[in-house]
Assembly symmetry: C2
Homo-oligomer: 241 residues x 2
DNA sequence: ACAGGTGAATGGTCAGACCATACATTGGTC
DNA sequence: GACCAATGTATGGTCTGACCATTCACCTGT
C-alpha cells in the first residue's frame, strides 16, 4: 500500500476520489467484513450522509449504483421493511450490462450466443447428472405450457425462458444460472424473431420437440445426450451464429 | 404493450418510475437506435436535465449507473474530450457485481471457480484452434515474466493475470474474455493465497510449469491438451473447489 | 509568433426545502 | 376490550440554487 522507495520524488497524480465512491467503499467494507448481509437494512439516507460526512446526494448516487448491481432495493414509507435493504439479485444487473454493450457494439450477437452455448451445454450436462424432482417438475411444466389452446408467441416465449432458466438452476451452480438468465435476457427480442422466422405456429411444434428431447435426456440421466440436444436447439434458434 | 381486455377493471398497481430510470431509458433508447455509440459525448448534465424535464440530480444518478456498468466515463474540465463519453468497458463492472455478491454469500467461491473452469477450458480449446501470432506473443511474454531475478509474489500474480486474460482474448470471443476477466478479478485475493499455500518460491516454479504446458498446447494447436492443461491448473490453484 | 492571463463550460458537491408513501400511534366509538 | 378512523412520522423521491475545481478556448500584450 505504501509508495515504493525511489531515487527521487515520485509525483504520482492524486487519484481524485469522488464522494460517492467513498460511500461505496465504506459499504462494501461492511459487506466484505460480514457486518452487512442480505436482508439487512441500511441506515436512512440522511443518517448515512451525516455519519460519513457527505451530502445526501452523494449517498444517493452510491445507492443507485448498488441498486443497479442488484445488491439493494429501496422502498418508500415507514416500517421494518422500508428503506434500503440488501438483496442478492444479480440477474437483472447482468442482463442490463450485456444488453447495453450489445447496443454499443462492444459485444456481438455471435459472441453472446456462443457464450450461451458454452454455458448452457455444461448446465444441461450437470442437470442430467443431478437434477432433483422439483427441477424436473419445473422443466415438465414449462414444456407443457408450450402447447395447448390459447398459445400465443408471447406465452410460448415465456415458457421457453422458464425452461432455460429452470435448466440452468438444475445445474446446481448459481453463477451459471445467473449468467444464463442474463445472456438470454440480453438477446430476448431475438428469441421472438426466431419464432417468427420459423413461422407460427409450426415453430412452436419444432421448438417444443427440441425441449422435449432435452427434457428426456435430463430425466434419463444422459449428460452427453442433454448437451447435444441443447447444442442442436441453439443452432436451430440462432442460425448463423 | 397495451392492457389486455378483461371482464372488469384491472387495477394493476401503478409501477412507480423514478426520474433517473426515465433518464436511463431515454439514453438506452438512443444507444439501441444507434444514435449514440462508443466514443460519442453526452450533452452536459445541465442541458440533459433541461431537455428531459428533470433535475440535474436525477440525471447524475442515471449517469452514475451507466458509469458503474462500464458504459461511460466522466471527466471534468472543458474541451472536446471533457464531459460524459460513452465507452465499452464492461470488465470492471462485471468484476464488481461478482465480488459484491460473493461477499453477500449469494455466489459461492466454489461456483465461481467452477464457472471459470467451464469458460476457461473452452477458451483454451478455442485459442489452440485459432490464436494469432500477437496472442501467442502475449502468452509467451507473460510466462517469461513468471521467472527470473527480482520476482515477487505480487509480480507473479500480475503475470498470471495477464496470461489468463491473454488466453481468454485469444479465444476470439469478447464476451468470454470479459467474463474471464471479471471472474478472475472477483477471486483475485484468493489467487495470492494459492501461491502462499504452495509455498514461495517453489509455487512459482510449479505454477509456471502449468502455464508452460498450456502455452505449449496452444502453440501446438492441440485443443484437447490445452483444455486438460487448464483444468489441471485450476484444480491445483483452487483445491477443494 | 509567442506567452500569459482570463473567461467559460464542464463535472463534483453541498444545503435546504418540499412531496409521496406507508407504517405507527393515538384516540374515539361501539 | 375490540375495532376503526384521524393524525403523526420516518422513509425515499425530487427539485432548486448555489459554490468549487478542473480544463481548455480565447484574448491580449509583448
Amino acid at each position: 500500500m505504501s509508495t515504493p522507495p525511489t531515487d527521487g520524488p515520485d509525483w504520482r497524480p492524486v487519484r481524485r476520489v469522488r464522494a460517492h465512491e467513498e460511500v461505496l467503499a465504506r459499504i462494501e467494507e461492511q459487506i466484505a467484513a460480514g457486518r452487512l448481509k442480505a436482508g439487512d437494512r441500511l441506515p436512512g439516507e440522511r443518517q448515512l450522509a451525516e455519519s460519513l460526512g457527505v451530502s445526501r446526494a452523494s449517498v444517493r448516487e452510491a445507492l443507485r449504483v448498488l441498486e443497479a448491481m442488484g445488491v439493494l432495493v429501496s422502498t418508500t414509507g415507514r416500517g421494518p421493511d422500508a428503506g434500503a435493504v440488501l438483496v442478492g439479485r444479480p440477474a437483472d444487473a447482468l442482463a442490463d450490462i450485456l444488453r447495453l454493450h450489445v447496443g454499443l457494439a462492444h459485444f456481438s450477437l455471435h459472441d453472446i450466443v456462443e457464450t450461451r452455448r458454452i454455458v448452457e451445454t455444461w448446465a444441461a450436462r450437470s442437470a442430467a447428472e443431478q437434477a432433483g424432482p422439483e427441477h424436473l417438475a419445473r422443466l415438465r411444466d414449462a414444456v407443457s405450457r408450450m402447447a395447448g389452446p390459447g398459445l400465443t408467441p408471447d406465452r410460448f416465449n415465456q415458457a421457453d425462458a422458464d425452461f432455460h432458466l429452470a435448466l440452468a438452476e438444475a445445474s446446481g451452480n448459481t453463477v451459471v444460472a445467473t449468467l444464463m438468465h442474463g445472456l438470454r435476457d440480453a438477446v430476448g427480442r431475438h428469441a421472438v424473431e426466431a419464432v417468427e422466422r420459423l413461422g407460427w405456429p409450426e415453430s412452436a411444434a419444432i421448438l417444443r420437440a427440441d425441449h422435449l428431447r432435452i427434457l428426456a435426456a435430463v430425466e434419463g440421466g444422459r449428460p452427453d445426450d442433454a448437451a447435444a440436444a441443447v447444442r442442436d436447439h441453439l443452432a436451430r434458434s440462432y442460425p448463423g451464429h
